[in-house]
Amino acid sequence: MNIAHFFALAHDSWLGQIARDNPYMYTIGLVIHFTGLALLMGAMLLIDLTLLGFARTIPPGAALKLLPLAIIGFAMNLLTGIMFFCFDPDRFGLNPAFQVKMVLVLLAGANALWFTFAEHREVVLAPAGVRLPLKVRVSASLSLLLWFGVIVAGRMIVAFQ
């Protein structure tokens, strides 16, 4: 299956059809996408700033209790994002800003997975105010940079149309 075939499949999918047939679907999707952005970024800001040592009185384990909020926000954005893509796969798939955004999402996801499997178990037990290992702080910095990069790349999509 080549890319053109994949784009055609996405375009003709049930999701693509309801997005094009219902004039309010895309707008509702965007409202959900920006609400998801606020949930994901609010949780990530608090978690990453805590891991970086900016909120010394928050125990890392308490900050990481916000992960479900981040996952809910991400799920909202993934589902609505798939709908936008299916609405017009050529418009998004061939857009360099969209391509950069997807690479950044994958990198941010890989960073989050690495943290979850390699560090999460120990970090949740760390007391508040303790300087966490360098690799954890690097991961938290990357997380903030990548997610903010996702926002910027997403907003640049219209500039390349």
Binding site: T27, L30, V31, F34, T35, L37, A38, L39, L40, M41, G42, A43, M44, L45, L46, L49, F54, A55, T57, I58, P59, G61, A62, A63, K65, L66, L69, W147, F148, I151, V152, G154, R155, M156, V158, A159
Partner: protein, 168 residues
């Protein structure tokens, strides 16, 4: 109305209107600010409502500067976005509702902190306590910030609609 026409004709407004990257860059800044200000406030309000109770409210008060940075980014980018379309936005109902929501969101946040903060003991740090009125304020605050996002998204559709029908 002349004031808004004058604002819209300023060189910086014209740059935003005509350059390839003016609007996207301002909207990118506006979204970063949204992430910081609404993101932190959503976490604060959810914490007040009992989610992630291990996070001390006093620690969230120290993250308020992050929300303030987001607010300033959005005020500045918002002013430039407004100037570029001043004459049309000033009569755009979605824009006016959004501005009201942002104002109410600010007031709700101010009330929330006043309600949370117990009278400071003579010595020592301020203490915070979740009261029933804090719970109510947190619920209202969440609704109002969601409304700000919702009506912010609708602004563009109201503008396009006005243009399609020969409006300003």
């Amino acid at each position: 109305m002349e004031l808004f026409a004058w604002l819209q004709d300023l060189p910086i407004s014209e740059w935003v209107q005509t350059s390839d990257y003016g609007f996207p860059l301002l909207l990118a800044a506006h979204s970063i600010g949204l992430a910081a200000v609404v993101g932190i406030l959503v976490v604060l309000n959810l914490r007040v409502l009992g989610y992630a109770e291990g996070i001390p409210i006093a620690a969230l008060s120290r993250l308020m500067p992050v929300a303030w940075v987001g607010f300033v980014i959005n005020a500045l980018s918002g002013i430039l976005l407004f100037m570029a379309n001043a004459t049309r936005l000033v009569t755009n109902w979605a824009f006016l509702v959004k501005m009201t929501a942002v104002l109410l969101g600010g007031i709700a946040t101010w009330i929330l902190w006043r309600t949370l903060k117990q009278r400071t003991p003579q010595d020592g740090a301020p203490a915070y306590r979740v009261t029933p009125s804090a719970l109510l304020t947190a619920r209202i605050s969440l609704g109002v910030w969601f409304a700000a996002i919702l009506f912010g998204r609708i602004i563009a559709y109201v503008m396009d609609h006005a243009m399609l029908h020969g409006g300003a």
